[in-house]
């Protein structure tokens, strides 16, 4: 393992989003798209030595199909000395507007694999409820979120925190923006938070109050440094 700086190679961690139509592409599709974009940008990815050489690029844990993400991360090892801004500009030119790199930073410290290191994922849920819903049902919903969902439900152990940001009130729809931190309980069985089961559970739970999920977005990933949460870019 060479973690010393090598003039002939550059390790870069970058953050990118996939939104609009591209939320319908799988993790594997996205990684293939990214690798080809790098190749079109004439950036040489290092390959490992093996029977079937593979490019040295690692991605953060998969985002479920149909969920937009503002926080996809990847680590890549490149040939040559590459400036991070140049990297970002060059690759973005080879990508569609639905998938673009938002940040890139050279890795200068020792880091663990993104897949293993991510501790917490922040999802935002945009909810909507018809204004014809009675007010008391909504009040009950607010109370339940704060009291029971985070502490007593099946998924309480995977919900780190919940914040509700009430949306603007239009004539017939009330938009709610709710932030749910979904935790990975890696300490137990190294298993990644089962987003789909939570999604199903949460959808059913909301239905009791006449509320539907309109949109889900992966907002950010966090890793642990000591006892604090940091974004993957902050720690490299």
């Amino acid at each position: 393992m060479t973690d010393q700086k090598n003039a002939y190679e550059t390790r870069i961690r970058f953050k990118f989003y996939k939104k609009d139509e591209f939320k319908y592409l799988s993790h594997l599709d996205i990684s293939r798209i990214m690798i080809r974009a790098l190749s079109r940008a004439e950036l040489e990815i290092r390959y490992n030595q093996g029977y079937n050489p593979k490019p040295k690029i690692n991605f953060s844990p998969p985002t479920p199909l149909g969920v937009e993400s503002m926080a996809e991360y990847a680590d890549v090892l490149l040939d040559g000395d590459i400036n991070e801004n140049e990297f970002k500009t060059k690759v973005n030119l080879e990508l569609k507007p639905q998938i673009q790199i938002s940040e890139a930073k050279k890795i200068t410290t020792k880091t663990d694999n993104l897949m293993n290191e991510v501790a917490i994922i922040l999802y935002s849920f945009k909810l909507y409820a018809c204004s014809s819903n009675n007010e008391s049902l909504l009040k009950e919903f607010y109370a339940e979120v704060e009291e029971n969902l985070t502490t007593k439900s099946d998924f309480s152990s995977s919900i780190f925190d919940l914040q509700i940001t009430p949306g603007k009130r239009t004539s017939d729809i009330i938009l709610l923006k709710l932030f749910g931190y979904a935790k990975i309980f890696k300490e137990e069985n190294n298993e990644i938070f089962k987003f789909n089961s939570f999604y199903q559970f949460f959808g059913n739970w909301l239905r009791k109050y006449g509320i539907d999920i309109e949109n889900v977005k992966k907002e950010e990933l966090f890793v642990m440094r000591g006892s604090t949460l940091r974004t993957p870019i902050e720690v490299v």
Binding site: Y24, R32, I33, R36, S39, Y51, N52
Partner: protein
Amino acid sequence: MNKIKRLDCNLLERLLKDVEKPGRYINNEIGTRSKSPETIKDFYDIVFTALVFPDIYEVGMSNLGLQILYDIVNKHECFSAERVFSPWIDFEEKLRRQNVKIFSLENRIFLDSFDLIGFTVQHELLYTNVLNILDMGGININSRDRGNRFPLVCAGGPAIVNPQPFSKFMDFFVIGDGEEVVISILQRVKNYRDNNKDKQWFLKEISKLDGIYIPGFYKFYYYPDGRIKKIEPEKKVRKAVVKNLNKFEIVQDPIIPNIKAVHDRFAVEIMRGCGRGCRFCQAGIIYRPVRKREVKSLIRQSIAGIKKTGYDEISFLSLSSSDYREIKHLLDKIISSSKPGRLSVSMPSMRLDSLNLKLIELIQSGRRTGLTFAPEAGSQRMRDIINKNIEESEMLDCIKMAFSSGWERIKLYFMIGLPYEEDKDIHEIVVLIEKIIMAAKERLSKKKLPRLKINISINAFCPKPFTPFQWAAQDNTANLDSKFNYILKNVPKRYVNINWTDSRKSRIECALSRGNDMVGRVIEGAWKNGARFDNWTDFFKFQIWEEEFKKAGLDIGLFTTRNFLEDEILPWDIIDIGVSKEFLLKEYDRSKECLRNQDKI
């Protein structure tokens, strides 16, 4: 021109919820080049054509022909081509349930808003998908019931070189190479539309072009037994041929699918046509004459294409790549253009002999997937009859060399039910496989032998139009099944994995490919009773087809297990494919001669 109607994006969003592989329907790949109302001033002056590939996205996007036509049409300032594929079952259900018409990927234009709809049909078992797509577009499937001037509906591709079974559905057919004729057609569509001419005028105009067959202009007369008595007029339609392939550069910036396509690589056609003359092979005749691309520009364009696409695999396509004279030079140049181990090169249809094995070693350095051989038949006698020009010793030498240099996976293609086939020929298939296993035991190390995998694919022979065997009878399903079972029972179980195409599926394929215009009713009935994706084993329902043939009063045997008479008028005689019937007949006679010569020995 009709007002163009498009699917609203919010509706698409709702439709895509809980659909399998939604990436199939979202467009926005790198390389899409259609014109959009936001960028083109005279958007509504453009002639819009839907390029329809009647199979799922992953299959359609692997078709080079589609990419070529897409490129040519969209380069033209007056024309625009948009893609349409068969939606998968779940998405179709959703569209139908919500009364939403099928739409193109690029601008989400509903199918019935196009000026011209062109189907590229690669296989007979996709016929029902074609009808299904028309119906999902709210378009009447029968040509004569389409009263409106638009959209015009046509079909091209290898599965319509005999257009008869499909003639009642199409306004016209395009036979042969599409590169040149597609623009000629679109120019006439524009004239027809802008000057408000009538449909007969348009059909007359395009009928002057090479390769255009208009079913409405012909009349077929039949004998009571179902054979054709007379076709009027007799004048044949000459296949469209691009004389010089070099005139069209290879597509260097194709659409790069966002989801994984069946063939996910940069595809380059190096040669069109094949000079080998296997007597069962339709492609070998209908793509004649042999035309090759000039090697220098091929190298330049290939390297440019790899750079532009970012693909890590390139595939050189032709019907017989080892017959491309400068193949070694081409490979050397391409491989040395990229870093070692980064680019993999594949070459289907490579004739395998010891000479070529060295080439294959060269291109697959590092990435060994497997070797494919197509002996087609087990015995030399049978291979002589079909004119498959490969000796067993040659093949075995090559396989031995492959084992010695470490290959562990081999794929073999065989056909059963060939003309003049006898039980001993079937037995010889088993013997050949045994010989290959022996060779493996001899050449592979103890460590490697357990990893040996021989995949065998067995297909039922299906006589196809425009081949020397076009007159031959197809073997009946009971015979085919017992031949296959014999192989299955007698082939060593270890190391071997056998694949077999349902013989009843081959029977329907044969009936559709050698059918006359009365078969159209059968296709329509089968589709109405739920037949689609017939090429998918899970969906193919023989009963539906059998029932429909019965209902139409047609004997399937008339098109399959019958020897066509040599002086009989064939449904596809109306097409001049570039190879004369006399030549085909002579070749058919030669196959019988092989038989006689052998009998003398």
